[in-house]
Amino acid sequence: MRKIALGLVSQLLWLSPSYGTEQDLESRIKQLESEIAINQEQAADFDHRLNNSVSISGYADVEAIRSSEAGSKPGFGIHHMSLFFKKVIDPKWRFFSEVEYEDGTQIAFEDTGDCTKCSGAVYLESMNFDFAWSPELGFRAGRFFTPAGIWSVDHYPPFVPTQQIPLHIREIFPQVTDGAMVFGSRLIDGSFVNYNLYVGNGESNRGNEDSNSAKAIGAKGSVTLPYLGLLQVGASMYHDKMNDSTTKTVLGLDTKMKIGALSIQSEYAKGKYSPDAATKYDRNGFYAQFLYDIAKLTLGYRFDVYNPDTAKTNAGENVNSLIVNYHVSKDIVLKLEHHLFSFDDSTTKSFNKTIASVAVNLGN
């Protein structure tokens, strides 16, 4: 049967005018070569256009919150809608920016100046240019997330287990810095040593001006050791003279490790505040977070403590959090988190907060 079929096919090919002669075959080969050349040109053209385009990505998250805090009502929230614009200008130069619409931003300008219906906020979260001289030395200028600890940079909802951020994050180290930074990484004896050194306007001076002559300086160093699934330890510092003449010096420590399905992440920060004409005080915070992966589920617990002013008695607070994440895919996560807030001050009532959310990374 097979032989008959093959015979028929060869007869058909023999009879077919396009397979008739060697000349025809050569002509077809030439035609194919020409088509390949055209396709290659088209691919190169497409590549060129892609390389010259700005890539847009982003993330969005929505949540439902129920809290027993006095005065709070259960409700839904459109928390973030962020857009990232990135461009690789050439192999060494890159541009990056993030525009964030927070809390379902609605802005309306009217001649009366009445903005009572307006809500939410729009932030230029970051905007910077990078110049990569080598793996050991890169430069960044513009607005960037302050390289301090872990959560300050790795904070995007699709990739963190909770919508509720640890208490001290953004309260001791500033969230962003407007300035310039050098950064890099080097392999030393099997361990990667990473560093960031930066200078900026300071946390109360963003945008187009600096209200004081002092500049903030900061540094972060971390080492990724070749042990476990992941083992990283880091230290951060920041020094600034703020607009109200308070001198602020912050030190932080952080660690991240992965042992099989268990991930542990912890950060500590201590800020020393020295106002010119008031009592000095410290501000400190710490959290330890434990996550355990079971297939697409992540279960977790976090203990979180923060004291905004050690000069005051009973100013501290802490949160115990239970966490469940379901990773629908690498870009979609469903989260359920329950937080119990407690206060050192016995007159402040403890309360709990439950958040159910969906966070989506929009990709490129």
Binding site: K86, N128, F144, F145, V153, P158, K330
Partner: protein, 146 residues
């Protein structure tokens, strides 16, 4: 009776799930261009795919190629090299991209294209099913994972 029926159904579903996960997964070859003479260890591969090591010893940039997150061979690679699932590895890369901390962004291509690109690109590294490298010119297998 009803309980045993449910139990059998659950077990069968689990078996199918496990079989489904494993189906198609075999040996994975980590490949570099044949002009690249640098020895590549498992630790190097982990560092490269964790965005720590971004250049070869000669200083040339490493072009890193990944398979799509739903590819069974990426699952094998991620588990063996990075000790995480393919999904977690892909999420970590996405996180690096949106935090602007990706030093050497990775490309995602299908296996045939990865083999073809690596054979033509001196600084490239990728991984493909072993069958994809048989008889291919311009490729050196740096390591085989299974």
């Amino acid at each position: 009776m009803r309980r045993s029926y449910v139990a059998i159904n659950v077990m069968l579903s689990l078996m199918l799930l496990v079989a489904g996960e494993a189906f198609g997964a075999g040996k994975v070859a980590v490949i570099v261009n044949s002009s690249n003479g640098q020895g590549v260890t498992l630790a190097d591969i982990k560092s490269i795919y964790s965005d720590q090591m971004v250049a070869w010893q000669n200083g040339n940039k490493i072009d890193v190629y990944n398979l799509p997150p739903d590819d069974v061979n990426r699952e094998v690679f991620a588990r063996k090299v990075l000790s995480v699932s393919a999904q977690d590895a892909a999420a970590a890369e996405s996180n690096r991209r949106i935090t602007n901390s990706a030093r050497n962004p990775q490309e995602v291509k299908r296996d045939k294209l990865v083999a073809s690109i690596v054979s033509r690109t001196p600084g490239a590294i990728g991984y493909v099913p072993v069958g994809e490298v048989e008889g291919k010119i311009g490729i050196r297998v740096a390591m085989t994972l299974e």
